[in-house]
C-alpha cells in the first residue's frame, strides 16, 4: 500500500489532463493513473514511409485491431458503430482529428426546446468561461463570429481551406447554406512551445510536428511542473469502497504486473465513456452489487456514439488528398431542429480532405473502380488526390438500451472483464442519417463530383463515447450531480464524456474538457463542503 493521496484521477486523456492541471493550483497531492505510456513524437507514423500502413496496425483507431499491451479489448459485435479508443498519456486526443466545435446552446435544452431526452443541469453559459480557458490551453484555431454560435474568438486563425474546402465553400454559397471554417485543435502559428502545422497529413495517428493539441503536450507538462504525479503503465482494476460508503482508493496493476492499492480521499473517473462505466461496473461491493455508484442502474446506459455516415466524392481536378489536416470547414445548416425534415434535432456536415495512395487504391479495388491488371495504373491516376468527403455527425439521442455491460467471457491481459457494447439506431437517428446523406450527396454533386459513394456506418467510427454516467439533479435518473459528484458516493467524481446528457451533433472533446475544467472549478469552490 502506498501513502494516501488527496485526489486520484483515473485516466490521462482529454478530461484527466485538463482536470489535473486545473486542480494543481490547490497544492493538494494529486496522482493520475494511466494504463498506457508516453508516446514519443518520433514514434508517430508521419516519421516513416510506412505512415499509411501503420494506420491499420499499431496506429489504428480501433483497439481490437491495434492489440497493443496498453489496450483492452471491447466486444462491439452487437454495435453497428465500432469502438475507437487510444490508451496512452493524452488518451484519445493523441488519435483524434482535432476537430473542435463546442456543443451549441440548444444541445443543453433538448427537452425544453424539442420535447425529447432530458435537459442538462448546466447550460452553454455555465461552460462558456471554461470553453474559453480550454481554447487557450489547447491552442485552438478558428474564425470568430460564426453565425451558428454565440460570439467567441480563438487564439489562432483557421486552417486553410485548401482546394477541397474552397470548392465546397463555393458550392455551399450557391445553395445558400451555412458554412464556416472549422475550429481545430491544431496550431496554425507557433503557440506555447508547439510548432505550427506543416500539413503532414491526416492527424489521427498522432502529430509528429506537435501542432495538434493532445493533452500530453498541452495540459500534462504544466500539470506535472505544478506537482501532479502521473503514473504510466498502471491499469486500474477497481475502485474500492469503505464501510462508510465513501471511495477509499483504487487497486491497480503497475508496469511490473504487481497489484497495488492506492488510497485516496477523492477518486475522479476520467477513463472515457467506455472505460469509466466499465471500471465502475467492475467495482462491485455489498453496498453496490451492480457496480459502484449504480443505484440508478444507469451506469453504462444511454450510450451515444455519434453515427457518422460519410459521402465520398471524386473530382476531375486535383484536390488536397492527404496533404493537410483532415478537417477544413463545417456546415450547421441542418443542426437545429426543423420537424419538417422528419426528425428531431440535427447534424453537422463536416468537410474533409482525401486519403493517401494506399487508401485510394484499396477503396478503388474494393469498389471495382480500379481493376486488377493492366488498367490499374490508369484508374489509379484518375482517382488519386481527387477525392474529398463529407461526414454527417448525427445527434443520436440517449436510449437506455444502448449500453455498456461487462462481457461474461472477454477479459483484458490482467483478467479484468472487458466491456460489451449493445447499440442500435433509433428511427429518429436513422431518418436523420438519411437526410444528411441526401444533403451531403446533393452538395457533393453541386461541388462538381463526378462520382459519389455513401458509407452509412461501416468503417465510420468517430470514437465519441458519451452518456454512460450522465449528470442530473435527480439521483433516480442520473449518476452524477450537476458538478460531477456521484449521487451515491460523495467522494467519487466523473469528469469525462460519460456525463453528457445528450451528445449533440458535434465532436465532443471541446465540451468534455470544458466540463472537466468546470467540475474542477466547482470542487475548488466547495472544498470545505465537498462531501456534504
Amino acid at each position: 500500500m502506498t501513502d494516501p493521496v488527496d485526489i486520484l484521477i483515473i485516466g490521462s486523456g482529454a478530461s484527466g489532463g485538463a482536470f489535473a492541471w486545473s486542480m494543481a493550483d490547490t497544492k493538494m497531492r494529486i496522482v493520475c493513473l494511466e494504463q498506457g505510456d508516453w508516446v514519443k513524437p518520433t514514434d508517430y507514423p508521419a516519421n516513416g514511409r510506412d505512415w499509411e500502413a501503420r494506420r491499420y496496425s499499431d496506429s489504428d483507431i480501433l483497439p481490437n485491431r491495434r492489440q497493443l499491451p496498453a489496450d483492452y479489448p471491447v466486444n462491439d459485435d452487437n454495435s453497428i458503430t465500432k469502438i475507437a479508443t487510444y490508451n496512452a498519456v493524452g488518451g484519445g486526443t493523441v488519435h483524434y482529428a482535432a476537430h473542435f466545435p463546442r456543443l451549441h446552446p440548444s444541445d443543453f435544452r433538448v427537452r425544453t426546446l424539442d420535447g425529447v431526452a432530458e435537459d442538462w443541469p448546466i447550460n452553454y453559459r455555465t461552460l462558456e468561461p471554461f470553453f474559453t480557458e480550454n481554447d487557450r490551453m489547447m491552442g485552438i484555431s478558428g474564425m470568430p463570429n460564426d453565425p451558428s454560435y454565440p460570439d467567441h474568438t480563438y487564439p489562432m486563425p483557421p486552417i486553410p481551406p485548401g482546394r477541397s474546402g474552397t470548392r465546397f465553400a463555393h458550392a455551399l454559397n450557391r445553395l445558400g447554406w451555412h458554412w464556416w471554417p472549422s475550429a481545430a485543435a491544431i496550431a496554425t502559428q507557433d503557440y506555447e512551445g508547439r510548432a505550427a502545422c506543416i500539413n503532414l497529413g491526416h492527424c489521427l495517428p498522432g502529430c509528429a510536428q506537435g501542432a495538434k493539441a493532445s493533452t500530453d503536450i498541452t495540459y500534462w507538462p504544466q500539470a506535472i511542473r505544478a506537482g501532479v504525479e502521473l503514473r504510466t503503465n498502471c491499469r486500474v482494476r477497481e475502485i474500492t469502497l469503505g464501510p462508510d460508503g465513501m471511495a477509499t482508493g483504487a487497486i491497480y496493476y503497475d508496469r511490473d504486473g504487481q497489484e497495488v492499492f492506492q488510497p485516496a480521499h477523492v477518486v475522479v473517473m476520467a477513463a472515457n465513456g467506455i472505460g469509466t462505466p466499465r471500471l465502475l461496473l467492475n467495482s462491485k461491493s455489498e453496498r453496490f452489487p451492480n457496480g459502484l455508484a449504480n443505484s440508478s442502474d444507469l451506469v453504462g446506459r444511454n450510450l451515444m456514439l455519434h453515427p457518422w455516415p460519410v459521402v465520398q466524392g471524386w473530382f476531375h481536378e486535383e484536390m488536397d488528398g492527404q496533404r493537410g489536416p483532415i478537417v477544413s470547414i463545417w456546415s450547421k445548416q441542418f443542426y437545429e431542429t426543423d420537424l419538417s425534415r422528419g426528425f428531431t434535432r440535427g447534424y453537422m456536415l463536416q468537410f474533409g480532405r482525401g486519403p493517401g495512395p494506399v487508401g485510394e487504391a484499396q477503396a478503388g479495388i474494393e469498389s471495382g473502380r480500379m481493376p486488377w491488371g493492366e488498367g490499374h495504373h490508369a484508374a489509379m491516376r484518375r482517382y488519386h488526390h481527387r477525392r474529398a468527403h463529407i461526414g454527417v455527425a448525427c445527434d443520436d439521442l440517449p436510449e437506455p438500451h444502448n449500453r455498456i455491460t461487462l462481457d461474461p467471457v472477454l477479459k483484458d491481459s490482467h483478467g479484468i472483464p472487458a466491456p460489451r457494447i449493445d447499440y442500435t439506431l433509433s428511427p429518429n437517428t436513422a431518418a436523420m442519417m438519411e437526410h444528411g446523406i441526401a444533403r451531403a450527396t446533393e452538395l457533393m454533386q453541386e461541388a462538381g463530383a463526378h462520382t459519389t459513394t455513401v458509407s452509412r456506418t461501416v468503417l465510420n467510427y468517430p470514437g465519441h463515447l458519451l452518456g454512460t454516467c450522465r449528470m442530473g439533479t435527480n439521483p433516480a435518473t442520473s449518476v452524477v450531480n450537476e458538478w460531477g459528484r456521484s449521487h451515491d458516493v460523495r467522494n467519487l467524481f466523473v469528469i469525462d464524456g460519460s456525463v453528457f446528457v445528450t451528445g449533440g451533433g458535434v465532436n465532443p472533446t471541446s465540451t468534455i474538457q470544458a466540463i472537466a475544467l468546470y467540475i474542477a472549478n466547482e470542487m475548488k469552490q466547495r472544498l470545505d463542503t465537498l462531501f456534504d
Partner: protein
Amino acid sequence: MSNTLANPPPSWGDPTLTDAEKRTLAAMCARMIPASAEFKVPGADDPLIQADIAKSLGRDATAVHEALALLDRIAGGDFAALPVAKQDEACATLRAEGGMNLTLTTRIVLQCYYRDDRVMISLGMEPRPPFPKGHVLPQGDWSLLDPVRARGKIWRDA
C-alpha cells in the same frame, strides 16, 4: 502496458511465408498490379516490393496464409505454375470468394507497392515520409464567407 509492441503475438499467425507461398504471392501480385512501361512503374511482383510484403504481414499473417492457400486450391494446387490466362481466371474466382482474407492481403500488397520510390515518383509524389518537410496547403479566400455573414445568426437561443 506499453504503446509499442516488440514482437508479434502468436495469435496473429506465422509472420513468415514459405517459399511456395512466396511464389504464389508474387504470381498473384503480377496479375493484380503488373509492371507498366507507360507509367514507368514496376509490378507488385517486383523483388523489392515482394521483400517488403514478406516482412509486413503483422496482424494479418493468418489472413495472408489463408488467402494464398485458397488461391492455390482454386488453381488446382499451384497457382504460380498456371499459364497467365488461367491465373486470371483463378484470380477472378479468388476475388469472388476471398472475403476478408483477400481484402487484408490486398491491403498489405498496396501498402508496400505505394510506398515504393518508383511508384511514388510516377504518381507525382516525393518519395519521403511526411515529416519533417510536410506539404503546402493552398490558402483560401475568406471573403467567400460574406454571404454567410450576411444571412446572420442561425443558432437557437436556449
